[in-house]
Symmetry: C2
Subunit: 381 residues, 2 copies
């Protein structure tokens, strides 16, 4: 039997941001042309995609038109028109992750319900439709999450007392127990069409207190072998129960009692896997490619201890981006700077990331501090 | 003092083949737009460069027109119009490697004479202008090298007896002692404008007997610390004597007496450094970028033992390329396939390479054999 020449398959991606850009860097190694649809004419993939189409990802006709010539279609963001993806799937386009799964995940209400229905450990929650519901429930402290369209920390509100109800969302969402966690962990897991499944080593994330974005992370996480195993099994369990093909990032809380609760998932390459480019034998981007092209999945072993620092736009700076301290940090051994090709910076915008590979944990922490102190995205003007 | 925002500098490359393509993968991490000039409208950089201009690299006006808007200009191949590069340099374009050095290197006669004049060890040689000169010299066995325009093994003839003179080149070149070597080694060295200099660990190359191309290599080379040190010092010495800014691959013979002789150099990323993408903290492509942008040079330490296998077009196959065995080899742990985006294959054409990272030397050799046996570039038609 003759294999597919995978380079003859036309791949489309809905979304052309930094994730698409790093995916393209990896796809080039396989001769895979990447066609991008993105609403932003200056999106990071603009100059590096084989073709770049400007259009709304949530518009049925736009997605249909873009996807109909593709052999394989994948996503970089969940907020896409899944109705169009289902129609394309019926026409024979291989859509991964599958449209029903994107649909399920992109609404936190159905996502959380899925965990409950499949005995996947997660914080207790109640579905709510409005502020009135939230007030009636009267549960404090708690976390109010928007059902749809929350991302990068937007769409999450901590309600400490009744007076916080003003901040709550007045649309369908959920109220979740506020978890008193020790650490936030993540496991990235991939699954291909033949059901082969591989996880990356669990990582440990530290969030920015204001922006609610990953500020930096350590890989592998500093947890016991038992905790690492538990996190790994949960991630495998989630992708298996979903029956998903593609890459899934599973974010988890490690509670002070040693329990692990699934917080949320993203069915695509994820911020918690950027360091795999240097830190692991196979990167999350190549693994995504292998999964959706039904290639054997790659070895995910760590090459070295690594940290990843997100490079966020400085507060008070909006305009053309200037990377202060780039020279200083690039002089440090094991520091890898990844900029995302965004011309304009604004406070907390994800402008790039830095991976540091360093096996000496003390030195690794020092280097993280050095990068955080010296590398700043400011505006020239 | 304010640093340069390196992403605001316009970079042009003369040549848009696989070396340019892998350079672009690396340049994307620094937000550096790459503008390419190449005579082949289907060159590997076509779809991934910020701009792609079709034109002859040896034509004065073409190079002038392409280069005049650039802030920094570099090369992917030595056979370029150096007169135009010198004129551009005078107009303020930063050309690295410097045009005089490209000029010196691209003619093996001046290159070899440079080694002799600077006490850099190299095989003895005599300059010749024609077959008549070669016959007069009557030195057998010997190696006849073309002065200009030899590359990838073309332009080199071994003359074993007088009857081989028919095969000799009837144009300016040189006759060199045939070196009875134990191994062929290479060291890649980089130097930036402030004179900082860094070498990669020495590698050991095995050449294809027919095609005279690197068939595979091991990194680091299996040589004593003393030999490694000697090779390293020679490479540093060559780039220092040249006063070159950029990346220089120094190919050497290790003789059976433990001497090291410089064979030839290439002032750019090189086949003997492909494995640095995975095998070393900094890749040769990023190091090239760092050197020409005058950034601090990166750490060149090996992450692991690695081998690199060139993926050459199979004999007897010409036409649209099909990668037989891609799935099989991609299932092997530590195997990284790099395809070069060439649509058509022909015998011995460099279609890609495979890097294998594997610390167990026996396993590494097994995996090299597996890749060589199973991954073939054939034609579909």
């Amino acid at each position: 039997m003759k294999e597919n020449n995978i380079q003859d398959l036309k791949l489309g991606i809905l979304g052309g941001g930094q994730l698409g850009r790093m995916f393209i860097q990896s796809a080039m190694d396989y001769n895979i042309d990447v066609h991008i649809l993105d609403p932003d004419p200056d999106a990071p993939c603009k100059n590096v995609a084989t073709s770049f189409t400007v259009g709304k990802l949530t518009d049925y006709d736009t997605v249909m038109k873009f996807g109909k010539d593709c052999d394989i279609l994948t996503i970089e963001i969940e907020n896409v028109n899944t109705e169009a993806l289902r129609a394309l799937e019926k026409e024979g386009v291989r859509v991964f992750p599958q449209p029903d799964i994107i649909e399920l995940i992109k609404d936190k209400r159905t996502q959380k319900s899925f965990y409950r229905d499949h005995d996947i450990p997660t914080a207790d929650f109640t579905l709510v439709d409005s502020k009135t519901d939230i007030a009636k429930l009267g549960k404090f402290p708690s976390v109010n999450k928007l059902g749809k369209e929350g991302y990068d920390g937007r769409g999450v509100q901590v309600l400490r007392t009744a007076s916080d109800i003003d901040k709550a969302f007045d649309v369908p969402g959920l109220i979740e127990d506020l978890v008193d966690f020790e650490k936030e962990l993540a496991v990235i897991v991939a699954r291909n069409e033949r059901g082969e499944c591989r996880t990356f080593p669990v990582v440990e994330m530290v969030f920015h207190p204001e922006a609610n974005l990953v500020e930096y992370l350590f890989a592998p996480a500093d947890v016991s072998a038992e905790i690492a195993k538990k996190a790994d099994e949960i991630a495998r369990n989630v992708i298996d129960r979903l029956g998903m093909v593609g890459l899934l990032a599973v974010e988890m809380f490690l509670t002070r009692d040693g329990d692990i609760l699934v917080n949320e998932v993203a069915p695509r390459p994820h911020n918690s896997g950027h360091q795999t480019i240097e830190g692991n034998i196979t990167s999350q981007y190549e693994q995504h490619l292998r999964s959706i092209f039904n290639l054997p999945l790659g070895d995910t072993s760590s090459r070295a201890k690594a940290a990843m620092v997100n490079l966020l736009g400085e507060e008070g700076h909006t305009g053309p981006a200037f990377y202060e301290g780039l020279e200083k940090v690039s002089a440090i051994s094991g520091v890898h700077v990844h900029l995302y090709g965004k011309k304009l910076t604004k406070p907390f915008r994800k402008m790039g990331h830095v991976t540091i590979e360093e096996n000496d944990m003390e030195l690794l922490i020092e280097k993280v501090q050095f990068v955080k102190e010296h590398l700043k995205v400011i505006s020239n003007v």
